[in-house]
Amino acid sequence: MKVKYFAWVRERIGKAEETIEPPASVRTVEDLIGWLARQGETYAHAFETPRVIRAAIDHAHVKSDTVITGAREIAFFPPMTGG
């Protein structure tokens, strides 16, 4: 699946998007954040406070317990500050 990162999540990881293949045990958004956080120091830094990270699946906001099965694109970003 494709993963996109925005704002300081993107800056900390050092890339805007990538394609990942997490193991089948990664079922939810929360699981995926935990798995990504173990992919290296930059990821650990980006996901060090999971409760502030917002997620979207296929352009719609989702909660941390949402199952990621079938997702084409998952995005992670900080709370929004537009307007």
Binding site: K4, F6, A7, W8, A56, H59, A60, H61, A75, F77, P78, P79, M80, T81, G82, G83
Partner: protein
């Protein structure tokens, strides 16, 4: 007649008067137009701001604004709606965002404009980074913005 809805995300500045005129031109069913403009401030607290840079999530930003526009159209008897959000580097005094709502009477236009701004601030995927003498930093979200959006779900 279909209600005209304009949603744009763009780097270029916009002209508030021109956008209002475009929405009302040739219409005789509009009795009230409310516009909200968000403008880049030159300071945050005691610190001078040189510029803001707006990042967005292309695709989702348009989808979220469209979703909220549809909600506004279903909740209030609007006769026109325009939302423009700029991205990229914006300097103090420049426009950031515009919401224009039109209706037969003022109450719907006022309420829908406020609803849209509250929802955009809390839910539309845009992020502001500010440049100041101390460097650049991402602006923190305000809890107040989430509360402002939440009050529309209570009524």
């Amino acid at each position: 007649m279909a209600i005209p809805v304009t949603i744009r995300i763009q780097e270029a500045d916009f002209d508030v008067a021109r956008e209002i005129a475009a929405l009302t031109k040739g219409r005789t069913d509009i009795g009230a137009v409310v516009s909200f403009s968000g403008i880049c401030r030159g300071s945050e607290g005691d610190e001078a701001i040189a510029a803001l840079t707006l990042e967005h999530y292309p695709g989702m930003a348009e989808a979220e604004i469209t979703r909220h526009a549809q909600t506004a159209l279903s909740r209030w008897p609007l006769t026109g709606l325009t939302v423009i959000h700029r991205v990229g580097r914006i300097t103090p005094g420049e426009n950031i965002v515009l919401v224009v709502t039109a209706s037969a009477h003022r109450q719907a236009a006022f309420e829908a404009a406020e609803f849209l701004m509250d929802y955009l601030k809390a839910n539309a995927p845009f992020w502001k980074r500010e440049e100041s003498a101390g460097g650049t930093s991402w602006i923190d979200a305000r809890e107040h913005d989430d509360q402002a959006a939440a009050r529309w779900t209570k009524s």
